[in-house]
Structure formats: C-alpha cells, structure tokens
C-alpha cells in the first residue's frame, strides 16, 4: 500500500512542478552520452555529428552516480552515445553503478559485442541492454547504417541471448527501432526477426529529424513520413497492436496510433504533453540538457544544482509551451497529467488494496494533507 502512496506523491510532484514551473521532483530518466564517438555514421543520426571530441570523464560520471544514488525513488540511468562500448571504462562504469544500487541500462549498435563482451554484459548488473535494429533485413538496416551492420547487430543479439542462457540470467535483451520513411514497410517484420533471435522486448520510437531543435519537426525532412507512408504506417500499427495483444514482446510507451498524428503534423500538446521535469540528458561535454537546451555542467557543479539554474527554469518554461511534441517516449509522464486522475487512481487503489479501516484512513488523511500542502504552496506562489 505504501507503493500506491509513493506513486501518488511522485505524480503530485510532477503535476505541480509543471503547473508552477518549479522543480519539486527529480527526473525519472537520466540519459548519459559518454561520448559521441561511434563505429558508424548512420544517416538519420544527429548525435554523432555534434560535440565531436568530447569525452565524459570517468570520475565525473562516478560523482554523478554518487549523487543520484542518494536520491529517493527509482530512477533509471540509460547509457547511450555514440557507441558506449567504444569506451574502455564502460564496464567500470557499469560496476560502479551497480555498487551504487542504480537502475542502469544501455543502448548499442551491437558492432562491438562479441561472445566475450556479451558474457561480461551478463555479469554487469545492467537491467536492460538494447540493440538498435532499423530494418527487418540487411537491405534497409545496412543502407541506413553501414554495410554489414545488420549482420553485426543480429550476431550481437545472438551472443547476448546465448550468454544469458549460460549465465542463467542477466539484463533484459531488447531491440530499439527508429520509425522512419526508409523502414516503415517492414516495422511489423522486425517482430519476427526479434522473436527468432530470442529478444525479450521490442520498442519503436519515431525519428527525430533535427536534434538541435526538436520542436521544429519538419515534414520535409529526409526521414519523415509523407502522407502515403503514414497510411502504410497505419497498416503496420494495426498488425503490431494485434500481435502485441496476443503475444506481448512489443512494449508500447504510449498509444502507437499517436504516431500517425505525429507524422501528419497534427499531434497537439494536449494529446501528448511533455513533462519537462521527467527527463534529462547529460552530454559528453558534461552539459545537462532537456529538449536540446543546456543548463548546467556536471564537471563543475552538482547534478542537482544544474537542475536549478535560471537556465533550467527557462528551458523548462519553453518546453511547457511546446506546440509540437516530439513523441520521444521518456519526455512524458501521462500519469501525472491530470490532478483528478491522480487522486481518483489513489482513492481507487486504497479502496481496492488496503486492508483495514484504520489503514485506509491513514492513507487518505496523508493524501489530504499532501493536497493541503500543495494548496498553500500554490497560494503563496501567486503573484
């Protein structure tokens, strides 16, 4: 039952953070790009084209981990890049995170994962390892990424699955697929590729066309879906949803039909409202960013201090007024979008799961006093 209350508190803090544009909670998702060095130079990837030559210091990463491990609640740290396995210290970083008791995940193109590396990943304490797959076969994937990349990605997945079996456990093995014009017709077919390889989870996300200015999703960009392709996407979603209902495997981070409106340029911030307090990205230069804007550097400040700079307030203020949501899954927290939704869910859970009258009363009283606290916070915040 304390779970329900914890959830209630978390959601309230995100809700009121947004209303007041004042940080009352720490981000749930912390993406860290150790470096933008990569083994590939994929066509749609904006990341490897910027911040070249920066490498995040091992010591700075550890310092951030120390700080995060002191935070309450469950945060997820996702190690990304560039190609994370190019870093010599990558397993040292994983080990440090595990010892600090952090939820940590990683995403890779798979090019550097041989049998030995796969074995080490199983023992690393990662919760999830994702390999990117942008097509159901060589043709598309290699066209987007590099010749031989499809074979390497699938080999990597095979090594991971085998290593997990040998190790009797290890991180969840996932595939991440970027939805774009080039692969729209084979999204559904990626499911069978993944299933045959023994993958446990498949996540799709729409392409970002301009990394430096995400709110400017432009329909003329190269990888963007045009009207005809959106129709194809609709057919693919129907099949994917149908498959998912029966067999699982695919994990939706939001209603997949939103992709259609997204690519048609019709998605509004009411259907998908980005909560600026839920997500941050730390770049290889040490800058902490949200939606492209940098607001503090972990090389010379605590992470929490970075979150409270005036630049951070400004960046989040702009995000709050975002008119073109980018649909990148981690930027949002729909459970905290509506206050009545938060309270109704809580009452429902108390009714359903709590045992005695006394417990129920305590929980509801606590909820009432939380609301009262926020009420006075809100009153005092008024100009």
């Amino acid at each position: 039952m304390t779970e329900a209350f914890k959830k209630f508190e978390t959601n309230l803090s995100y809700y009121f953070s947004r209303v007041l544009n004042k940080r009352l909670a720490k981000p749930l998702w912390i993406f860290i790009s150790l470096s933008h060095q990569c083994t590939y130079n994929c066509q749609m990837c904006g990341v490897v084209k910027i911040l070249k030559g920066y490498e995040l210091n091992t010591e700075d990463v550890k310092k951030a981990f120390n700080e995060i491990s002191g935070w309450q609640r469950d945060f997820t740290v996702v190690i990304t890049g560039g190609e994370p396995f190019l870093r010599k210290d990558i397993f040292e970083i994983f080990r440090y995170a595990r010892e600090a008791n952090l939820n940590i995940e990683a995403v890779t193109n798979g090019s550097l994962i041989d049998r030995a590396v796969a074995g080490k990943i199983m023992a690393s304490g990662l919760k999830n390892i994702a390999v990117s797959l942008d097509g159901a076969g060589e043709q598309t994937h290699d066209y987007i990424r590099e010749k031989g990349a499809f074979r390497k990605a699938t080999e990597a997945l095979k090594h991971l699955v085998a290593a997990k079996r040998d190790n009797r456990g290890g991180p969840q093995i996932s595939v991440w697929t970027t939805i774009m014009k080039e692969n729209v017709g084979e999204l559904f077919d990626i499911i069978s590729v993944a299933r045959e390889l023994g993958v446990e989870c498949l996540v799709y996300h729409p392409v970002i066309v301009a990394q430096e200015d995400m709110q400017n999703t432009s329909s003329s960009a190269r990888f963007w879906l045009q009207e005809e392709e959106v129709k194809i996407l609709k057919g693919q979603i129907d099949r994917i949803v149908d498959y998912q209902k029966k067999n699982g495997l695919v994990a939706f981070l939001h209603d997949p039909y939103l992709w259609l409106r997204h690519f048609n340029g019709q998605l509004t911030s009411q259907e998908w409202s980005c909560n600026p307090f839920v997500f941050i990205n730390i770049g290889p230069d040490g800058e902490v960013r949200s939606c492209g804007a940098a607001f503090g550097n972990i090389r010379n400040m605590d992470l929490e201090a970075c979150l409270d700079t005036p630049e951070a307030d400004r960046a989040r203020g702009l995000m709050k007024n975002c008119r073109k949501p980018c649909l990148q899954t981690c930027w949002s927290h729909p459970e905290a979008d509506s206050l009545s939704g938060i309270v109704d869910t809580f009452i429902y859970e108390v009714r359903k799961y709590s045992s005695g009258r006394q417990e129920k009363k305590e929980l509801l009283d606590a909820a009432l006093s939380r609301l009262t606290d926020y009420e006075s916070l809100l009153k005092n915040a008024k100009p």
């Binding site: 206050l339 009545s340 108390v350 009283d365 009432l368 009420e375 809100l378």
Partner: protein
C-alpha cells in the same frame, strides 16, 4: 465529408429551477464522470470541432464544470456555457473567468413579471445579477429567450436588458414541445393564427431595435419564420445542416443526430460504450443521417441550428457573416504596427469565416479580442485562455472534498 463544428453537451438534467416550459429536470438522472467528458472533448478536437457548448439542466450544478471548460480551452476549442444565471455570484464569475470561458449565455424571458411567472419567483433578479457579475469579470455575455405566447410582446424589452448589461447578442428560439413530458400541457405556449400579424410586427421591431443597439441577433430570415411556426405551421426540411455539423450529447452519454430527432428514438450510440470519435465516423450515424435527410425530419426552429437551417439560408447567412469578417480590413490598418503576422492572421480569419458562423458569441468581438492578443503578445507564446494556477486551486478544493467524503464513508 463535412466536419464536426460544434458539440452540444447537456451535462446534467438536474436543475435548480422548474420552468413552466421545461421538464428537463425530471429526465434521466444518470451522468458521466469528468474523465469521460474530457475524452469527449479531446475527441471533438480530433474531429476538427471548434466549439463545445455546455448546457443542461443547469450546468453549474456540476462541480467539475469549471475544470471541463478549462480543459476545453486548453484543447484550443471555444467554450460556451448556457445557464439560468442563478448560481453565477461573484465568486462563480471569477471561477468562470479563470476557466477561460468564451461566452456565457443567460436565459431571459422578458420583464420581471413574465420571467418570474415562467421561471419562478426571484429568478429574474438572479439572472440580472449574473449578467452584472459576468460584466465585472469582463466575460462576454449573451441572452437567450424562448419565444411563446407569454412573452412575445416583450421581445424588444429583452434588448433593453441586453443593452444595459453589455450583452453582445440576443438569440430567440420558439417554444418547442420536446422539452415537455406531457405535451398537452404545452398548448398554451402557441399563438393563434390571428396573432401572427401582431407578432410579425413585434419581430420587425425587435430587428430594428437590435440594429440600433448594435446587438447581434439570429439571422433575420430565421426570425421572420418564428410567428408562423408558433402558430403551428410546420415545415419539414430535407437537408438541415445541423445534422452534418453539430452533435448533441445527453447527460447520460447518449449521442443523437439532433435534439429533436432524439425524441424519435434516433440514438446513434452511447459515450460509455464508444468514443465520440468512433461514433461520429461510424456507418451507423451516416445511415441514420442519410435516412433523416431523405425522409425529411420533424422540423424545428431551434436557435442552435438557426444559421444552418436550410441550405439557402445557410448560404445567405454565411455571406452575411463573411461581410462582417471583411470589416477586418479596418483592423488591418493596425498591420503596420503588427507587421506581417497580423496580416496573415487576418487572412486566415477571413478564410475561416465558416468557423465564425458557428461561434456563439459576437464575431466582431471575437476578432477584436484575437487581434489585440496578437498585438499584445506578438512575441510570447499563444495563450489558450484560463489560468492554470487558479484552476489547479479550484481542483484541489474539489478533490479535498472528495477525499474528506471518502474518509467519512469509511
């Protein structure tokens, strides 16, 4: 296929008055929860609707009405509220202002004596104070009247009220039997053939006074039809555009082709079972609407359908509105100040004149407001109306009550 333009939500059948011409408060008591209405509103927005009208019963009896209006505005739709005014004290008016409501419509039936006779002792004073409170919050108010034998002689007087309280619009709607359970009890509301001429004269005066006072009223051609209609001469139009552009939803979630056909058991579906989005696009609705169009409908002169009533009228009316929108040219002089942005806005406004035809308040007012917003906020992000903090406070107090109730019920 024509797009949905407006959704008319009868949010509750409950009412704090018992008007002689209306038995709505005795109707079904079942109501949908807040979140389901929110879903309706987002679906309406997805379908391209421009306006949500909240009516009832008395919509202010729903404690979540402010939240729903705020949600409507946040979805960038217009929100219009129709009320008898009894509950619009100064506090409610400031809540309405925080919610960002576009227009509040208050029902006035005539002079104090006539109004109170039809709506109940004391209701006239309360309606007037509602108009006053709306004015002090600078919320646009409009006035609605149900025309019948009891009040047609006072139609010009209603314009006086509107003028005194700064209301922008007066909308007439002839008495209709569908609001009554026992239809026989409605006989007294109609007029005799012999009175038609007298009433025509009063309608004429109503029109000329409205021009003098610069108060918008229903289209003239519509108003001219009222006397014959009230004397019992019905027409059964074959192509009422309301069927294509507007969607009424009852408090229990029933979706109908129009309020009048609802009485003929023409039910499209229910919101608890299917979303508005699906229902509106469903084959079932298409079939039903087509059959009404082909077979002729019951016919009505409900004011919510006035500007779309009959295809010829609808064209004439739209042209009339378009002319008004052309007055925008005079605002375009401001374009020198506001630059290209304003100009392009004015053009899109012209292009979208159809939308303004379905807007419940004064078009000119809306445009003025829009333009001044553009001028003021040239740089800033678009404000969607409503004050988020104010609304959050309102919601907190409502939810605290809910929690307290839950605690007491343990």
């Amino acid at each position: 296929m024509p797009n949905l333009k407006e959704v008319i939500i009868s949010i509750t059948n409950r009412c704090n008055l018992r008007c002689r011409m209306c038995d709505i408060p005795g109707g079904k008591s079942e109501e949908l929860p807040t979140d389901q209405w929110k879903k309706v509103i987002s679906d309406a927005s997805r379908l391209g609707s421009q306006t949500i009208v909240f009516s009832g019963g008395e919509p202010l009896l729903r404690e979540d009405i402010f939240e729903l209006i705020y949600f409507t505005r946040k979805n960038k739709l217009n929100a219009c509220l129709t009320s008898n005014g009894c509950l619009i004290d100064s506090q409610a008016a400031s809540r309405l202002s925080a919610s960002g409501v576009n227009v509040v419509n208050i029902s006035i039936e005539g002079s104090k004596g006539t109004h109170d006779h039809l709506r109940g002792e004391g209701s006239f004073e309360k309606a007037l104070s509602a108009l006053e409170n709306l004015r002090s919050q600078r919320i646009e108010s409009t006035v609605a009247s149900t025309v019948s034998r009891y009040n047609y002689k006072e139609l010009p007087y209603i314009l006086e009220v509107a003028k005194n309280y700064g209301s922008t619009t007066v909308r007439l709607q002839p008495f209709n039997l569908i609001f009554l359970k026992d239809r026989a009890s409605g006989a007294g509301f109609f007029i005799d053939e012999a009175d038609i001429q007298k009433m025509e004269g009063l309608i004429g005066r109503f029109i000329s006074v409205s021009k003098e006072y610069k108060i918008s009223v229903n289209p003239e051609s519509y108003l001219r039809k009222i006397p014959a209609y009230l004397a019992g001469r019905r027409s059964h139009p074959r192509n009422c555009a309301a069927l294509w552009y507007s969607c009424p939803i009852a408090s229990n979630g029933d979706v109908f082709p129009c309020w009048i056909e609802a009485a003929n058991n023409k039910l499209i579906g229910n919101i608890r079972e299917e979303g508005l989005y699906e229902l509106w696009l469903s084959g079932k609705r298409m079939k039903m609407v087509n059959s009404i169009v082909n077979n002729g409908c019951s016919g009505c002169l409900m004011s919510c359908y006035d500007e779309v009533f009959g295809s010829r009228l609808s064209k004439a009316y739209l042209l009339d509105k378009a002319k008004k929108v052309k007055k925008i040219a005079s605002y375009q002089r401001l374009a020198n100040k506001a630059g290209q942005l304003l100009k392009s806005q004015a053009t899109t406004m012209k292009l979208r004149y159809r939308f303004y035809a379905s807007y419940r308040g004064s078009v000119t007012n809306l445009l003025k407001r829009r333009l001044s917003r553009i001028l003021n906020k040239l740089q800033g992000p678009e404000k969607t109306g409503g004050d988020e903090k104010e609304m959050a406070l309102l919601e907190i107090s409502r939810l605290k009550t809910k929690l307290e109730k839950e605690i007491r019920s343990l």
